[in-house]
Amino acid sequence: MKMKKFINAPENLTDELLDGLALAHSDLIERGDENMIINKKLADADRVTIVTQGGAGHEPAISGFVGDGMVDISVVGDIFAAPGPQACLDAIKLADKGRGVLYIVLNHAGDMLTGNLTMKQVKKQGLDVIKVVTQEDIANASRSNAEDRRGLVGCIPTYKIAGAAAAEGKSLEEVAEIARRFADNMATLAVAVRGATHPSTGALLSDLGEDEMEIGMGQHGEEGGGRQPLKTADETAEIMVKALVNDIGIKPGEKVMLIINGSGATTLMEQLLVYRAAVRILKEMDIEVVANYVGELLTVQETAGFQMFLARMDDELLRLWDAPCETPYMKK
């Protein structure tokens, strides 16, 4: 598959896309130095603030969720590549309004390295920061090996819930406790049917046969082991729902959040079919969906496939999920 994208010079890609984002949403966000996207209302914030970091190329994630009620600053690296620790440290200092900073990092090799280096400096400088790592991909490691679990779409509802907790005026410890409680009770499984191309190098990200799908594929085309013939929406949903319920250990009578996150080229039509099937299967298990999202939150370029996300909900988490937010790509 040849790369067919509307880009200019690959080396300016991230810069230009952040420019476009800030231009299109100048009422909500602005660009800072060093690839930062900043909540325009950050200046007035008298509360815990939220900083995150990650590569570009996953739009609308992650910078599309900067704004009141979600992320205050996102520090962007390059395409699929983490930013450096100095940029993250600068962002944390800029975000800190004297109430502390929650620093959310997805579990990917580069992000974790940067996150650790950043925290070293944070400690050296005595800043009030708690780092929370999202690592919820159940494909390639068991729950007991959480450090090996990749961070997939689960970061987005984590931002939302942490952001709402911060907006309620909770302390840094409380916000971090809530974010961790949510993150500890979430799980994601991805499926892909067709790969994409790396927008800077043109390299093919994964390579699937004409009739194949792969359950468990990572965010950059990394394999997850579940190669199999393409199945229907209902069959695929069933495999994935059962794996997720089982992983989190959700019991009959419990309430959940269900997200179907399109990876890029899979239509909303298909996502809605999968959502419908998943709700039915959960209902049969006496599990109630009390919160949802169906659409593209975190994409992997034009990959065809989706991520199914499930999380155990309680009343507080639900209230925080439903709380108002105003960001370029999530408004409540």
């Binding site: 690296g77 580069g110 390299a203 990572g218």
Partner: protein, 210 residues
Amino acid sequence: MGLDQTDIKRMISCAADRMAEKTGYLGDIDSHFGDGDHGLTIGRIAALMKERAAAWDEGDIAGFLDDLGTGIMEIRGGSAGPLYGTMVAGLGADLGENETDLDTEAVRRMFSGCLSEMKDLTTARVGDKTMMDALIPAVEAARTAQGGAGQIFEAAAEAAEAGAESTKNFVSKFGRARNYGDRTIGTPDAGAVSTALFFRGLSDGARSAK
């Protein structure tokens, strides 16, 4: 027999050349089980090394390496940014602020400082199919090598190359490639190969120091 600022400058510049020559190949290896951008990132790191080396006209060696390492970390290159940044800064970590002429003992401190910084950053060790497969043998060789700075760096480069070669036999345990398990056998690790190029370049640059 020692290394001064001019030598370090030439070594960094030489290392940058070795790395820059092979970005295509590095991208290629990384595209098998990674996301194919290691060549891109190494290219940027090399460019920065080259630029900083050329612009370096005063200041101590440790300070230069630390600044360069910090700069590399901000290159936005995924894993390789923090790793190379730490490795390069690590070479100066155990040098004193005003050491401008590095004798054999100081050169050995460059290697030991580098390793301890890297071990702080990553838990990967020999056999995990990462940069550490090149770095750890290089440091080990530097510790025991006879002769002056040139010989020490040559021993390190040879060990790094052998280490990189050995990654062909390993199963990925770190980074994106980890998810491919056994299938990674047969392909060397991109980061290990680039690390060997880095040490090869340092050695090439050190040779004329004597």
